[in-house]
Amino acid sequence: MREGLVLGEKIVYSTVPGDPLADALTRGADNGPVPLPGQLTVLPSQEIFPGARQVELVHRALDEGYPGVRLSARADAGLGDSRLEEYRAVDQLTDSLCASLPVTALCQLDAGSASDATLSAVIESHASVEDVQMRLGRDDDQVLVLSGEVDFNSADVLTRALRSLCRSQPGSAAVLDLSELSFVDVAGCRALVMGTEDFREAGGSLTLIGASTHLEKVLTLLCVDRLPGMELW
């Protein structure tokens, strides 16, 4: 969001009660950039769902001359388990906005309190997943890229995110770039294994590239490189 402010983009931030980030963004807290007048719109999340409002906001901002729009919404605000269909509709709408216009959408989810179904649904509908510590996405060459720190806190999200990305992997050979991964513990290595298990068992191969000397040592010690369908370069 702050990066968007610096770039002069329009920020649409939908918030839920008790979310401290909206206020921090408005005030430019922690040495963040202070939004220009009109640059930041904060609105309650029920206005983002079921979706019509965001299309209108995006078009208006682009008409006003903003080079891009960043949307942020709490995915779980639109997503009781009974409302999965509604969530998916908004999600598809957002996808098409991102695909056709200079729009970046960041959907937030409290992984600690979300149900299994919710977490899976949200992860499956996104091209990349990140939490406080780590980010998993796909680059332009279809290489999966894992960055940041992965430990037991983020292992569950990583496992699901890997499963989801492996399912949408074109072909049976996937590459995972670890060069920006600054820390991984045993639980994180387990996530690499569990998250790619179905893919590898179905005949897929995962090649790990860019591991540091330390990381290579850890993966080797835990025998991750010896698993079927797993290769360490």
Partner: protein
């Protein structure tokens, strides 16, 4: 009592020290045993000094099931060497060998406390290889090794072979006692004030940062720092999961080494083999891997009950 070569034929683990004086004596004693193993269809692995490897390989001649290994890089520390041979044996058995015979000469070189490491290695081998149909022959060169090294052989092997004759070893000590002995030698912590004290770890990312900040001041390489941080991380998680809070961390930097003490208030555990053998299964199941990893990444991992609680000490030699 003389136990004839019959022990070769069964599917138990047999761990035997072979005493010899010269290369030609080693060949005279060991070559017939190894040849016999090959004839039985067993795989044979040599990991001796270069001269002894060459002489034995010459005596045995070319053979598909004979593998000759350089010792370089194998005997870095006990836990690594045991893991190496365990994986090696698993690979051979997995490839169809009914039994594997390994003749090696231990050498922990001029490493700090090399003899302790040696003793630990032999004791761990008894434990780690137990499930496998393996015949470990450990060569002890009476011409070059000192008394303490030769004694280590007697302390840790269920069988000894002197003058070519195999006999049960009544002097063998219980392997867990041997391990505890090696640990006890190292139980005293460093003197002086810690460079870092965290009375209660609440945030692991912050722990990483704090340790990094302290070690940035001294010249440790990036890899070594990363090794220590992940080892510490795993031990703290063990304390949080299996021990009782608060989990505290102290870190000392002394000449040539970095030492961390992780203390939780729980009763700890007793198993001297904990974390020495990688957990089973192919898919990295839960549990004990953290300690395994710490043992592999650090030069010493010693656990002890202290007045404050259960303390795990991690030492990295610089």
């Amino acid at each position: 009592m003389t136990v004839p070569t019959a022990t070769r034929h069964d599917d138990r683990y047999v761990h035997e020290a072979v005493y010899f004086d010269t290369t030609s004596e080693l060949v005279e004693v060991a070559a017939p045993l190894l040849r016999g193993a090959l004839e039985q269809g067993h795989d044979v692995v040599l990991a001796c000094t270069e001269a002894n490897n060459d002489a034995l390989a010459d005596a045995l001649g070319d053979h598909d099931r004979l593998e000759v290994l350089s010792r370089a890089g194998i005997y870095t520390k006990a836990v690594t060497a045991v893991a190496y041979f365990r994986d090696l044996v698993i690979d051979h058995l997995g490839a169809g060998a009914p039994r594997v015979c390994v003749l090696g000469e231990v050498d922990f070189g001029d490493r700090v406390r090399a003899l302790d490491e040696w003793r630990r290695y032999e004791a761990l081998l008894n434990h780690a290889m137990q499930p496998f149909p393996v015949w470990s022959l450990c060569g002890y060169d009476t011409g070059t090794l000192g008394d303490r090294a030769l004694k280590t052989g007697e302390m840790t092997h269920p069988y000894l072979r002197r003058d070519g004759i195999q006999a049960r070893n009544p002097e063998q000590c219980d392997s867990s006692d041997v391990l505890r002995l090696a640990d006890a030698d190292r139980a005293s912590g460093p003197e002086g004030d810690p460079a870092l004290i965290i009375p209660e770890v609440r945030d692991l990312a912050e722990l990483h940062t704090q340790v990094g900040a302290v070690l940035q001041g001294i010249d440790v390489g990036r890899e070594l720092l990363e090794d220590l941080v992940v080892a510490l991380h795993e031990i703290v998680i063990n304390g949080l999961r299996h021990g009782s809070p608060p989990v505290s961390v102290r870190l000392w930097v002394t000449a040539g080494r970095v030492e961390c003490a992780v203390t939780d208030r729980g009763p700890g555990f007793e198993d001297p083999f904990a974390g020495y053998v990688r957990g089973g299964g192919d898919e990295l199941p839960e549990g004990r891997f953290g300690l395994w990893l710490a043992r592999q990444l650090c030069d010493e991992v010693v656990m002890d009950r202290t007045p404050e609680g259960f303390t795990t000490r991690l030492v990295v030699d610089l």
